[in-house]
Subunit: 376 residues, 2 copies
């Protein structure tokens, strides 16, 4: 797996030289329209197509490009349709635009890749595959459709590219240049590695969050009150849309099932240790968890960092957070993360400010001198 982060900002330097002149975007949802807007902002000619004419019209109105068939041959076709339709659209695009590079945005890659390859083989047209560069931008949520699209949706987001062995390297470089021009961080890997990674980093956490939350069903509301921020963190993903996630999980069925097997094995070891009065497996799982947590991305690419916490009691009314963060800003300390914990039935909340350990004392001192109730 290689990576080459570029500085932020659209269309700079070497990337610009590589940018396609004309791009056809097929599928004008959130992802397709956002990419189109980002390309238009760099002067690239963009054509828009969608099975839903209204969607394409909204995208056109927003300035994402021109509806209809390309007037000249596109250098790139970006297929941003729902996963179920992707293989057909990818192959049609490869056949229609005989010189174009074709890429897609589906969130799982191996199954799609296999289907595209199988269909190309059926029609004895595996040469098409030289021009296909599969991709997956890790962006977009909460909202959907062309009306929600934004030219900077991909800024600072990882965009995985999974070329196959058949893919020509120059095709991958073109897509990489487009991805970088949109402000995203390209990560080039194989379809299988990608799927195994997201099974562990995205799909398993979703299943776990849902199943932990489901287990609360037997408790009354006041029993659930015997909980803290930890339960809120672990169950946050459980609020996700079941329809969308059923589609994602089933499209990556085997890697997710494998990851769940491994997880179940680790959970069973802890359970058996507890039943048998053996502390060893329990402690072993907790220690492996500490090591794994260190891998979860830190910031600035500088590797994992443990932050120190400054906790402040804040009245729960408009403006109080503004006053707090203004005072925090005057201390010159950079805040790494913020969490707000509300207590049931009380008019106050606890705000936890995470900072570099070396800055903890300065921030606590500064806030106390501004009259804040600093706890830790």
């Amino acid at each position: 797996m290689t990576e080459r982060p570029q500085p932020a900002g659209a269309g700079g330097g070497a990337a610009a030289a590589l940018l396609p002149r004309g791009v056809l975007v097929v599928g004008t949802g959130l992802i397709g329209t956002s990419a189109a807007l980002g390309l238009r902002a760099q002067g690239v000619t963009v054509w828009l197509q969608d099975a839903d004419e209204e969607s394409a019209a909204v995208a056109e109105e927003r300035g994402a490009g021109v509806r209809g068939a390309p007037e000249t041959a596109p250098d790139l076709v970006l297929v941003a349709v729902p996963p179920v339709a992707a293989p057909t659209v990818i192959l049609d695009s490869l056949r229609t635009y005989v010189d174009a590079t074709v890429s897609d945005v589906a969130s799982t890659k191996a199954r799609l890749q296999r289907e595209v390859e199988a269909r190309a083989a059926e029609s004895s047209s595996t040469a098409l595959l030289m021009r296909f560069v599969a991709g997956h931008p890790l962006a977009g949520r909460e909202v959907s459709g062309p009306a929600a699209a934004l030219p900077d949706l991909f800024a600072d987001r990882v965009w995985a590219l999974t070329p196959s062995e058949a893919t020509e390297p120059a095709r991958t470089e073109l897509v990489r240049a487009v991805v970088e021009s949109l402000g995203a961080l390209p990560v080039v890997t194989t379809a299988e590695e990608h799927d195994r990674a997201v099974a562990l980093t995205s799909h398993t956490p979703q299943v776990v969050s849902s199943t932990v939350a489901a287990g609360l069903g037997g408790l009354g509301e006041s029993a659930v009150r015997l909980s803290g921020q930890g339960l809120r963190d672990v169950t946050r993903l459980a609020a996700s849309d079941p329809g969308l996630w059923t589609e994602i999980l089933t499209s990556n069925a085997e890697p997710v099932a494998d990851a769940l097997d491994a997880l179940i094995e680790r959970l069973s070891a802890v359970r058996d240790g507890l039943r048998e009065g053996a502390a060893g497996p329990v402690r072993g799982a907790l220690e492996a968890g500490v090591a794994g947590r260190r891998l979860v991305q830190g910031k600035h690419g500088s590797g994992p960092v443990e932050f120190a916490v400054v906790a402040v009691t804040v009245a729960d009314r408009p403006g109080e957070l503004g006053r707090l963060f203004a005072d925090a800003g005057r201390t010159g300390v950079n805040l790494e993360d913020v969490r707000i914990e509300h207590a049931q039935g009380r008019p106050t909340g606890l705000v936890e400010l995470e900072v570099a350990p070396a800055s903890q004392a300065a921030l606590a001192e500064g806030l106390r001198s501004s009259g804040w109730d600093v706890r830790g």
Copy 2:
């Protein structure tokens, strides 16, 4: 399970009339010293004891009370020693102070309760149990020891009380009054219900977070980059201290093992569904998760609420968050929660402001007019 939230603020009204005049705190760690400081602030006489003389000295220096044996009979003995020592100290206290109510702060209750009862029965002194009110304050983390103690550590925190059938109701009322005077929210329940609840709301989330994080071990650092805020949320607890958590989990072994059994069953159903190409069990688990997440405590006791998100791009330097929250405050919209997402290798972060759905448009509009890059 009953509950009776009281308004915040120490020592008001009816509770003050019930407050003990003299309290012996045995164990001057974070919890014991914090309770002592809170009681001293209300004029209660407090004596301090700890097997570690230095710890008791630090607590005394901080104004938490006077070291040594009580000069007059204490009304309450609060046992705040490590769980392994708790049964002995509880029974000694019940025997030494023949009129005192005795309470403790251990984080699991049934096993301790059984041991206290068994030992009392051995010495034919079950009458002692009338004065014992077991308890568990859900507070304290990140820091430990008397130096980190704070008189308001328990403000807005749930404090479970688990009297047994032998406990005299007036004893429970005394401890409830003390808990309320410290600003905490008493929840009275049985030891078994308490342990079953925390197995689901606290102990299982810890095990799950650790085992999910442990599963990342096989991935390289760039594969872990194929992840988002979801993985950070789910694995946050995995950073917890393995030694402390081994003790907690083994002290609640049976309820945690039962909860893990149920969780493993739900995970297995999802895994089998994925392997068999059956979407039904997958969707079923996700839907049960949505329902369970709704139970996780909302704010203000008003029940679960779904918030809307306003996402803002913010430069990662001191003062920017202050400027953002000051501008947000001027819109008059109350912020319910805040999350900051940093991108690796980039000088910006994404701040997600959660607000009541009705306030979303006003906040987004207000921030845009102040020049902020609002995304959603």
